[in-house]
Symmetry: C3
Subunit: 276 residues, 3 copies
């Protein structure tokens, strides 16, 4: 049973996502579908890129990952499929796979041009149904990537999230805000080692470093948020805290609260670790 | 692996949808489920009818389509199953399948009365769990429709969406508003042919016509929305446009905006093409 | 095909739920997943306990039920798996399974401590991915519970919902408010028998009773809501009514309206049946 995951900004209110699965089930009846999310903010490529970067390493390496966040639908942007060690990525050529490719480089990327693997009529507004879903189903059913179209040597790339390391300062940015209001930053990957934090830069060139967790301060939105703690329980309900999130990224939270709102933090805002 | 799709107004907050799938998995362990949507507006039969009409043609013809939008639950309305070339429709006899039947007539419709294919206790409020889900699972498992109950010769029909064609005027109505605020009308099915638009009426009797896309004006909500364009890119961000949607229906959108709100358009409002 | 259900407060906006399914698909490729809900109010253990109590009896008895509503993640609370006749429950040891255990006692409950059945690195914030999902997948694949860790003799229990029966008065509380605003109380299980209601107490010790439905009054929020009716249709649109819900619990609704809001009823509020 081949596995196809879906990530879109379509929401679940209309029939769009179900329709895509119907198209795929018609091509390959034994597919299993897993929804990653359909609530990417409309046309938010960076949010989608982040979610893919966090979720894909946990899937079997032979999965097909269908992504439709596609502000350029109906223009001349390519549709692509890209083989990586995390599976085959299928979606628009708009950079949405950039953070994944930062970790697992594309082995082969092709343009989805072969009409044999598209719906007979391709609308100008719903390539999710007419181009990407048929491609994902055929790939999951074993059609080789070369069958779909010519190689794309330089697919569109977005810049990586900002992160810089100086002697006494590590700077990053707000990368994602989740449903709970937790503010996830580009500073990481961090791993606890007793009272120390090992930092293995994931979004920047730079050597690994070890920080004394109690002797650093985290600054964001004009506030000093204190040192890095291990669990929510170390602060009172309603207080802000900085911790290491489930991906090893520095994360700003409020115990029982919504950090992004309370601290007025938004995507792209600077976050800084000051090393004492 | 037989396929059952689900369309309801239950939302995903409570356990209702999961419970229905549990009932079905208990009857036929190998079923595959695809959610079309559970966010039909509560008791909005026309919204459900539209979503089914758009989604069902993309599914395998042997699927079972379970629909629970059921304002009349607990009253004497029938529960029905209806064989069509788009699969078997299962749901309340309240007209929700009307737009589907407009395209693929019912070959046989039966009342779901046989208690062998219902839960042992049937509640008065949750026929989705007690009547419709068991029926859908048994049908998907191969039980013939005639086993469920007597034929229903005249299931409830809703009127089709309004559309009329005169010499220099084509009138329709707002049929659906999607999550993005796009306003989908009953005027179609439209297919681009170079600079011309071919109109093959789907919701009205009438002959096919060919329109010069640049020489028509679209009027809605007291405004002239200009000619019909091919892509969002033809207008500036924030501007209104009229295009052909993914179903071939005339659609009013705002580039990067929410057309229904900005233009104060609601379900049933008149939309008109004036032919120069 | 083994079945795993999922119940969380993660929402569907982020990639958390998809990631958990990815982990499970990597361990046991043939699993089928059914979402019960991911919209439990954040950290609402009683809401989750209620949803599980309503949904689980409708699933096959060999299902694995994965539940992640986990205010104590990162603290020393146990992770557990618990064998019952409704399937194996997997989740935090915080009482979320209490209402289920009220009906189907735990046959064996173990702590999930064996690192062979966890992700190699266990984060302090996402045990859903690192501890509970691997356990659920391995259990569904046939690993015996004893392999996971030592028995937990006294898992955390929440008190049962309040319900008391006196000669002329039956008192309960608001147990759950669903998406439609229907107010579900702890008074039940009620079954109609002609004009009589048979009450078989589910949340309280006490003998079964039979009530004349027309001779009782239901009181809630300082109002007399009248007798118990059988269907919505017995009151006008906009009027309040009291009926027997799909679980046999006394339920307060407004025909075409949102009862919780209109009657200012909240979780835990007292509801009373006065017997004439």
């Amino acid at each position: 049973m081949a596995l196809v995951t879906l990530t879109t900004d379509f929401g679940l209110q209309d029939g769009y996502v179900g329709t895509m699965k119907g198209v795929m089930a018609g091509i390959a009846p034994d597919l299993a579908f897993i929804d990653i999310t359909h609530d990417i903010r409309p046309q938010d490529l960076r949010g989608a890129a982040y979610v893919l970067w966090t979720a894909l390493p946990y899937f079997p390496g032979d999965a097909v990952h269908l992504v439709v966040v596609d502000p350029g639908v109906g223009t001349s942007r390519h549709a692509i499929a890209s083989q990586t060690s995390w599976g085959v990525l299928v979606g628009p050529d708009n950079g949405v796979f950039s953070y994944v490719w930062d970790v697992v480089p594309a082995e082969l990327t092709v343009a989805l041009e072969n009409p044999d693997y598209q719906r007979p009529v391709v609308s100008s507004t719903f390539h999710g149904r007419d181009v990407f879903s048929p491609a994902a189903a055929h790939i999951a059913a074993g059609v080789p990537l070369r069958e779909f179209g010519p190689e794309v040597s330089h697919p569109v790339r977005m810049s990586s999230p900002g992160m810089s390391m100086e002697e006494r300062r590590i700077r990053g940015e707000v990368l994602y805000i989740d449903r709970f209001g937790n503010v996830i930053t580009s500073i990481g990957r961090l791993v606890w080692e007793g009272t120390l934090l090992h930092l293995d830069p994931v979004f920047a060139k730079g050597e690994s470093r070890t920080l004394n967790a109690r002797r650093v301060r985290v600054l964001a939105g004009g506030r000093d948020l204190g040192p890095i703690v291990r669990t929510y329980g170390e602060v009172s309900s309603g207080d802000a805290l900085v911790m290491v999130g489930s991906e090893g990224l520095l994360e700003i939270a409020i115990n029982q609260g919504h950090a992004a709102r309370a601290l007025a933090l938004d995507l792209g805002d600077m976050v800084e670790i000051a090393v004492a």
